[in-house]
């Protein structure tokens, strides 16, 4: 698997450089809009989780690379496990880069008086760090979940064909349940205990606002991320083994 992992990194190397640049640009735009830098690591994390999965699948189809790679000393199993390893690696690298960049900005803002209220916006505060950790872990969960849904589809259908199906799958998984719940009147009829859900949600949010709560959430997010990628990789292994290239 190590060979396939290194090969995958070689393919994605130059794209990741562009993606990190783009991620920082998007993060800066959002930070200016929000007048806050807490979202920087989260944006980079989510972008790298999602885009590494999608772009790796796109490269597989360039010049028949997905087929040719299997003539090299790697198996389909190696390819699948390496793909998930790279998605996780790049997601974590995105998060770390985001943290390093924001730490540097906070340090600069603390040392130099920046114009236009920037020093205040970039200033270090425990609340900002706590929010940053929460946002990053939340974005990791979202990014890993999306990567876990699309990667098996890419392995089964290939990127070109999968692109036709993914919008339909997103609608079925993410939109249809809410439309059915809302349209059927189940919420109004009391079949779903909305008040109870809202109360649990409020308690959870209150917990998350504490340092202990963020720590618990971070661990839970990490466990969830690893679990969802693990389940997805098991599905991808089965699908890719059966695929005719």
């Amino acid at each position: 698997m190590k060979r396939a992992y290194l090969m995958e990194l070689t393919v994605l190397k130059s794209y990741v450089r562009q993606l990190v640049g783009l991620g920082f640009f998007v993060a800066i735009c959002i930070c200016i809009g929000m007048k806050n830098i807490v979202s920087v690591p989260g944006i980079l994390t989510m972008m790298l989780f999602m885009m590494s999965s999608m772009s790796a699948a796109a490269y597989d189809e360039q010049n028949n690379w997905g087929l040719f790679r299997l003539t090299m000393p790697v198996s389909r199993r190696d390819v699948v496990l390496a793909r998930y390893g790279v998605i996780l690696t790049l997601g974590v690298v995105g998060m770390l880069l985001g943290f390093v960049a924001t730490a540097l900005l906070m340090a600069v803002a603390g040392a130099v008086d920046l114009p236009g209220g920037l020093s205040g916006m970039l200033a270090f505060s425990p609340e900002n760090v706590q929010a940053m950790v929460f946002a990053s872990m939340f974005c990791m969960v979202v990014g890993a979940t999306i990567a876990s849904i699309v990667t098996p589809i890419y392995f089964r259908l290939g990127q070109t064909k999968a692109t036709q199906f993914i919008p339909m799958i997103v609608v079925i998984v993410f939109i249809c349940p809410f439309v059915v719940l809302g349209g059927s009147g189940m919420l109004d009829a009391g079949a779903v205990h909305l008040e109870g859900i809202m109360r649990v949600l409020a308690d959870t949010l209150a917990l998350i606002e504490t340092p202990q709560g963020v720590a618990v959430f971070a661990v839970a997010a990490l466990v969830f991320t690893l679990a969802v990628l693990g389940v997805s990789s098991a599905i991808s292994l089965k699908l890719y083994e059966r695929r005719e290239l």
Partner: protein
């Protein structure tokens, strides 16, 4: 269609088979590979010819363990080809150099990225050897694959396949897109490759003139079935194409010099081409009928398109 399998089966009795295909069968919607069997022995360059869609690439995929077979089996370097699909097949794959009809890697990678990729994939990668080929082929290390001409790309693929100590080369249309001088250069490389003990080349090609120059044996496939498997010298040195008129054709048929079920011919506006199994014997019997040396292209055309009397 008669299947010509009369090659000297025992000639290579002591030679080792680097490829042995036994009844390879694969069914797709609209196409099937039927019972494909052949061998590639040590020291041989075997050409694999046929029309587009005849089954060449499917056979190559089957040999490389890239597709699951519906029947039959193949041995590569003495191991079941199905092993190649498993993680345990990595060591075996190190010894097989593969070239497809394009540079089969993402276009943004540079020549030096490709070398890095191979260095990571093959424990036997020889960077110095690869650099020698880059210099020989004039391939710039910083150029991206997408910016290489087709010929340059094929040279890069061959340089890669020849730089990891492979003992078997499997080439799918590897000389396509090369200019005549570059093709000769590549053919020289292949000759030098098989000159080392324990090596062989299996190459599919539409450019049969390359096979005329280099192949030891030629295997033809059509409609997913092997239609001939002959030593090249048998085709080019012994066989011939008689260019005759209708009356001459009838005389040849009546003479019995060519068994009736083997009398393959192709009608043209200006006459009839007849496949002659032994052009020297034919010349003695029909000195007035011109009989040219057979090329692989002629043999393929007469076998595929020619009628049987």
């Amino acid at each position: 269609m008669t299947i010509a399998t009369d090659r000297a089966q025992n000639a290579a009795i002591d030679a080792t088979s680097l490829i042995e295909a036994r009844g390879l069968t694969k069914h797709y919607n609209g196409f099937s590979l039927h019972d494909v069997s052949f061998t590639v022995e040590e020291g041989e360059i075997v050409g694999f010819v046929g029309k587009n869609g005849a089954g060449k690439s499917t056979t190559i995929k089957a040999l490389l363990g890239l597709i699951a077979l519906d029947g039959g089996a193949a041995d590569i370097l003495g191991h079941d080809a199905a092993t190649l699909a498993r993680p345990s097949g990595a060591a075996l794959k190190e010894r097989i150099g593969v070239v497809f009809d394009t540079v089969s890697m993402p276009g943004h990678l540079t020549v030096s990225d490709v070398a890095s990729m191979y260095a990571r994939a093959f424990r036997t990668w020889d960077q110095r050897q690869f650099q020698t080929y880059l210099d020989r082929f004039d391939l710039p290390a910083r150029k991206a694959i997408k910016d290489l001409s087709r010929g340059m790309g094929m040279k890069l693929s061959l340089a890669c396949a020849l730089s990891h100590d492979a003992c078997l080369l499997v080439l799918d249309e590897a000389t396509a897109g090369l200019d005549p001088m570059a093709r000769d250069e590549v053919l020289d490389l292949l000759r030098a490759f098989v000159a080392e003990p324990g090596r062989a080349v299996f190459m599919s090609s539409h450019i049969t003139t390359d096979l005329d120059k280099i192949a030891d044996r030629v295997i033809g496939i059509d409609g997913g079935r092997i239609i001939f498997d002959r030593y090249k010298d048998e085709i080019t040195d012994t066989m011939g194409v008689a260019r005759c008129r209708v009356a001459e054709f009838e005389a040849i048929a009546a003479s019995g010099i060519i068994p009736e079920h083997e009398l393959r011919y192709l009608r043209h506006d200006y006459g009839i081409d007849v496949l002659v199994p032994d052009r020297f014997a034919f010349a003695e019997n029909f000195p007035n009928v011109p009989c040219d040396r057979m090329t692989i292209d002629d043999y393929l055309t007469l076998t595929l398109k020619g009628g049987v009397r």
